[in-house]
Symmetry: C2
Subunit: 351 residues, 2 copies
Amino acid sequence: MTINLNPSDKALVPFVSVDNMMRLIHHVGIEPMLRGLADYIEADFKRWELFDKTPRVASHSAEGVIELMPTSDGEVYGFKYVNGHPKNTKDGLQTVTAFGLLADVGTGYPVLLSEMTMLTAMRTAATSGLVARYLAPRGADTMAMIGSGAQSEFQSLAMKAICGLKTVRLYDIDPAAVEKARRNLEGTGLNVVACKSAEESMEGAQIITTCTADKQYATILTDNMVGSGVHINAIGGDCPGKTELAPGVLHRSDIFVEYPPQTRIEGEIQQLAEDHPVTEMWEVMSGLKPGRSSDKQITLFDSVGFAIEDFSALRFVRDRIAGTDLYFDLDLLADPDDPRDLFGMLQRAKG
Amino acid sequence: MTINLNPSDKALVPFVSVDNMMRLIHHVGIEPMLRGLADYIEADFKRWELFDKTPRVASHSAEGVIELMPTSDGEVYGFKYVNGHPKNTKDGLQTVTAFGLLADVGTGYPVLLSEMTMLTAMRTAATSGLVARYLAPRGADTMAMIGSGAQSEFQSLAMKAICGLKTVRLYDIDPAAVEKARRNLEGTGLNVVACKSAEESMEGAQIITTCTADKQYATILTDNMVGSGVHINAIGGDCPGKTELAPGVLHRSDIFVEYPPQTRIEGEIQQLAEDHPVTEMWEVMSGLKPGRSSDKQITLFDSVGFAIEDFSALRFVRDRIAGTDLYFDLDLLADPDDPRDLFGMLQRAKG
């Protein structure tokens, strides 16, 4: 099977199911795929100014949020559907599920539909690893991983694959979650340490990743917990009213973000003044602004996830499934022989 | 096959392909389905104030536009992906293709994915028929149908099914398109008259529908072509820079719209002052404002298509496919037994 873009094939859209996404990840390898995703994301961050950028379109309810995240580089258009429902886990459902699409800007025809629950976990971790490669102290090899939810193992492995992490120190308020993550990371080559407190997890760590899901634990890192010379990778403060860091930590840090108009609404910096200085990661990756500038500096990546990262991840998937059996074609688009004859196509289907 | 919303089934999303949509339309019957869609749209217009409403999110390029149209009634969320590329027909592609989704607001989990190229044609026609039932002159039985593109036959049949239309008078600048539409409407019970000019098509017509695709033909109706006492159903003026009616026609008409913030950007009224008075159709359907108030009045439905109509159409499809074989389940959502154990699900898939 190959992806053929001849007009006669455009009625069919290649679809990557959850099952095929997992097969793709194992086909490429988890760590090589995390590195590959980081390469695609870095390439797109370096051509940042080409993209149509808009804050995500959110539909909020009492239970959570449903968002559409569109972007375009002028040739390819992409969007992701993603929900965030912290209470879902109580009913045995995912907090976050997602799917995404790429389309040809020239025709408007979709060219890829893909699950993105797995892929979002992979791209979020790849982005964290990529950013840490620019911002973490030289030689950083130990990470405190606070929160052992669905993102935890992906974060740990991305730091290993992309930054050379050797030791991860796990903490979660739920010991069963820590045990789940410890067990999952067995045999990956990481030295895994289960910790009984956030403070314990941070001993000797040059990288601190915060990734908790529930709005009610609003201060994961207090000011006195954070020493100098570390890199904070703050994943979980990602919607209005949901933050994980004490304001004091923010004030002592140099803050790096994806897209300021979105991060100021959704990220840790919603706690700060609207004009608090931040640096955009695309500027660091393009060499326009410095990343880490001293050993004593606290760098903070206030990560909320941006549409371009999903676009990069979908590009990676599209490129990697070509010539494989890791997708099937969906009959998603009506494509009559004569485009003006949609009704005739419908009539002929009756026979 | 039934749609089961038990948690264990939520990883699978019912999908209606183009083929199954055409089977559904014939299963229900084209005219009964147009009436059914009109009923669902009317029911949603009557509870208009419940909905989250936002102008569509558009990504414009030199060749066309790709849009996302989200809405929610607080319990169900829906969105449509739709493109508009007038030049596509030259390459044998559809000007407009679309697909859509419904999701549960409480969990954020999608509950229906459907093709919407066919369905959009059906809902656009059903909306026109529904609005004409409120605005067309009493006893209107003849329509001028200007433009014989993909929407033409659907518009004609919707006016028959919903308003009792008996005669349609077809005109297009391309005689082959007129012939296509005439042939397709044979045997439907409509009296079909092929005309050689827009003026000829309007002889004796109480309803005038304009539905042309190309931006270059910007004045389909001039002021001296339109007499009093008609209903104009203006479909084709539906994006910035694309209009079909002379300003004089607009100034003589009482104008009815779906959602003013969107219509003022995309509809015929983009030619008028920002505060030009318009009436919202939901107010007419709810009995809050009058529709047609005199025999001499020119009523104009400045139709651009709104997200709630797609929402209604998707609701109709979801209700009608239950218990049928007109869909299949897509493996779109990763749903591990333990929602925090996404990585474990990935690892277990390796074996």
